[in-house]
């Protein structure tokens, strides 16, 4: 098809090569598929966010006045399932990873472009089941599907929700499979393992978890569905089945899934911190090994979700100790980012603000995770708002910060345009303030004993809940802002050149936006990753 040159973007690129809905829905270009994912997960993000706001509104007052208990159960269930399975898990890998990994390693595409498209369609089919679940009244199992509540006692759309997540899981598996093979087999000449950007390492580690963990969730949910539909007895205590077995199987995936959600974010932050400190990442090898270590240890700690579920004390002790171990590679990451910034020439651009936010909030989330890994303390705060605050610090304060920061960082590459920098900083600040105001009070609420998953609470908790609800409103504004100015910038933004940040990495050595096959000719890599200082300096002021 003849390309009509856009003003300012005279070269042929992946966006203007072809037009029309067919050229998008049948594309095998990893960059276009990344944008398909971007649209889909943004849609689900706002659905999940809508549920979150309803939850916060209900909790504005101690009485259960806005919604009834049953509706509230559905709200937090749908919020969790949509956010975890349809936003957080695909967020960085399927959008930024999809877009960047082939470019970063100097490949023309992922190893299996058609499987990549297939995985998006599978995601959409799963998403349709999720929408069906929501529109027909939702499920109210909590995102965890605990048996026998989910199998024997509820008459909501549990099977539809399980099917939705089962299907979406295969999309995640195929993405992971594609990344693993791509990183192993598609690297450009000279792009050795020790020259890979840490973003690639992080996504590689994530892919390992996706490939090993997701099938276990799939079979677990399949058994839950069989139990509901045909009254199989595998998790049914009435027949001698063991609900703890369900919890073991569920958390065998769902704990590592936390690392699916955080590792790619760490990759994003490594790229941003190195670029805006103008320094090679401190301790590159340790950073690479740390993500692999997190992926491996992540599989050995799942039962710390079950300390009060009746597992044996000795098992709990072992899982508690192993959970502490995860803190070691996590701390390596945080210390090395800090060391990277030390004596660096730091510029406070929007992506860097998000990276700062990530490092601080992830540290908070991680440290409170250690509270929860401690057997005695966990008994006190388990199933309270302390847990809610802890994992939102990791997932929202960590992952969502990194995701939005990454979107800003690579937006010039994705769209060929710059976003408005001052609006970007304003939004980053808004999100940071809104986030802390929403979730910090929840640590205190949890410590004081407010349980999670109740639609009403004792009046003495109201002040902190009002703070939290107020914060969530600010947070919502912060999330809408980037969406508005990203859309605005696609038309009116300043045209970006090849490398607006003066960043290292192959993705900055091709046009913005890149041509369909990423490079005019396959690059040959002769330099180490993050060769800041050696590369020619480009001023980044504004």
């Amino acid at each position: 098809m003849a390309a009509i040159p856009l003003p300012g973007a005279e070269h042929e690129n992946y966006l203007n090569k072809e037009y029309g809905i067919r050229s998008w829905l049948l594309t095998t270009d990893h960059k276009r598929i990344a944008l398909l994912y971007l649209l889909s997960i943004t849609f689900f993000f706002f659905i999940g966010g809508f549920f979150a706001l309803l939850i916060r509104l209900e909790l504005l007052t101690p009485a259960g006045d806005l919604v009834q208990a049953d509706t509230y159960n559905k709200l937090f269930t749908m919020h969790g399932q949509v956010m975890v399975f349809f936003f957080l898990i695909p967020a960085v890998p399927a959008v930024l990873g999809n877009f960047l990994i082939p470019i970063m390693i100097g490949a023309k595409d992922l190893a299996f472009p058609r499987i990549n498209l297939l995985s998006w369609y599978i995601f959409i089919i799963g998403g349709c089941f999720m929408l069906y679940t929501i529109l027909t009244g939702g499920a109210d199992t909590g995102w965890t599907f605990y048996t026998p509540l989910s199998t024997s006692f509820l008459d909501t759309h549990v099977v539809a929700a399980a099917v939705a997540i089962f299907i979406a899981g295969f999309s995640s598996i195929l993405t992971g499979l594609n990344f693993i093979v791509t990183v192993h087999r598609m690297r450009a000449p000279g792009m050795t393992w020790s020259r890979l950007p840490l973003f690639v390492w992080a996504n590689y580690a994530t892919s390992i978890i996706q490939v090993l963990g997701t099938p276990v969730l799939a079979i677990t949910l399949a058994l839950v569905a069989l139990e509901r539909l045909f009254h199989f007895g595998i998790f049914d205590p009435q027949k001698g089945g063991d609900p703890l077995l369900f919890q073991h199987l569920f958390w065998f995936y769902s704990h590592p899934a936390v690392y699916i959600m955080i590792l790619p974010g760490m990759g994003v932050v490594s790229e941003i911190v190195a670029c805006f400190s103008r320094k090679r990442v401190f301790g590159y090898k340790f950073m690479a090994l740390a993500v692999i270590a997190i992926a491996v240890f992540g599989f050995l700690v799942w039962a710390h979700h079950m300390f009060v579920a009746g597992i044996s004390l000795y098992a709990a002790l072992v899982f508690s100790l192993l959970s502490y171990l995860v803190a070691v590679p996590s701390a390596i990451k945080v210390f090395n980012w800090t060391a990277t910034m030390y004596k660096g020439s730091i510029s406070y651009t929007t992506p860097m603000l998000y990276a700062f936010g990530f490092i601080g909030l992830f540290t908070m989330g991680g440290l409170t995770g250690l509270f929860l890994a401690a057997l005695g303390l966990d008994v006190h705060v388990t199933d309270t708002y302390f847990v809610i605050a802890h994992f939102h610090y990791i997932m929202v304060g960590g992952m969502v910060m990194a995701y939005i920061g990454g979107l800003h960082f690579w937006w010039p590459k994705i769209s060929g345009r710059m976003y408005p920098e001052s609006w970007g900083r304003l939004a980053a600040l808004t999100i940071f303030i809104g986030f802390n105001l929403t979730f910090f009070p929840q640590f205190i609420l949890g410590y004081l004993g407010m349980p999670r998953r109740y639609w009403q609470y004792s009046p003495e908790y109201q002040v902190l809940n009002v703070l939290s609800t107020a914060g969530s409103t600010i947070l919502a504004v912060g999330y809408v802002l980037p969406m508005v100015y990203f859309l605005w910038s696609m038309r009116y933004g300043k045209v970006a050149d090849e490398n607006p940040w003066g960043a290292a990495g192959l993705e900055w050595m091709t046009a913005s936006p890149p041509p369909t096959f990423n490079f005019d000719e396959t690059p040959e890599v002769t330099w180490e990753a993050y060769n800041y200082g050696e590369a020619k300096e480009v001023p980044v002021e504004r």
Binding site: A107, K108, D109, L110, A111, F112, P113, I115, I173, L177, N178, I180, V181, T182, H184, R185, M186, V211, L212, G213, T214, P215, V216, A218, I219, T220, A222, L223, L226, F230, H231, F232, G233, I234, Q238, K239, G240, G241, D242, L245, L249, F517, T522
Partner: protein, 223 residues
């Protein structure tokens, strides 16, 4: 097919984003192995459940296993082993470019697969008729019927997912039979056949484990 693709780069089966056929073939093979790892994890969940409950309810599992028909299971095992042989021979035929042998062997493999499914269907019908399907109509004479129901839950889930994989395997072999008949595979390009072969062998191996776990654990008691 192919006009004697002496230079690998000119092979029409080479996809645009690979540098050469070797890279493409290595990627495809690795992708298949990674996929099989996910399959191991998928079935692994059920094998774990089996292990737990067999440990907890050993007597019920022996009683449940005695309700299995030894001969259906054994014949099906033999059928599947034969199908693995024909599949392996098919892969070799594709490597050496024997088109007719390849098509014939793939068809025989499919027939073995269908035979397995047929025998399984007969067996399932029997279990269904004897109220050995979990749920309200489940009935089993003897002590501990609800634990035997767990055995049967696992039996239906494990063999059911295995049968589903067989079904998918038969369909996929059908596709590559069609392409083999059209002459797509030869010494230069045969990794689809190899990969489907890997899948087929994997599904067989799952059965090789299911057979003793479900059919044979009680054998010494009946013997």
């Amino acid at each position: 097919m192919s006009d004697s693709a002496t230079v690998a780069d000119h092979n029409p089966a080479l996809q645009h984003h690979f540098a050469d056929m070797e890279q493409q073939q290595q990627a495809a093979t690795m992708g298949m192995w990674v996929f099989l790892i996910t399959e191991i994890m998928f079935f692994g969940g059920m094998f774990l459940a089996y292990m737990v409950y067999r440990y907890m309810y050993y007597a019920a599992f022996v009683a449940g296993s005695q309700a299995m028909d030894f001969w259906y299971g054994t014949i099906n095992t033999i059928v599947l082993i034969c199908s693995s042989l024909t599949m392996a021979l098919a892969v070799r035929a594709s490597q050496v470019g024997q088109r007719k042998a390849l098509v014939a062997l793939l068809i025989v493999t499919m027939l073995f697969g269908c035979a397995f499914m047929g025998i399984k269907a007969i067996e399932y019908t029997g279990h269904w008729r004897d109220h050995q399907f979990p749920g309200a109509s489940f009935h089993f004479e003897g002590p501990d019927p609800q634990h035997i129901e767990i055995f049967f839950s696992l039996y239906w889930a494990m063999t059911g997912f295995h049968a589903l994989h067989m079904l998918i395997g038969i369909v996929v072999v059908g596709f590559i039979t069609f392409y083999a008949w059209r002459g797509r595979y030869g010494p230069d390009y045969h990794n689809p056949v190899e990969n489907v072969g890997l899948y087929w062998h994997f599904v067989d191996i799952v059965w090789i484990y299911l057979y003793p776990l479900l059919y044979l654990i009680s054998h010494k008691h009946t013997g």
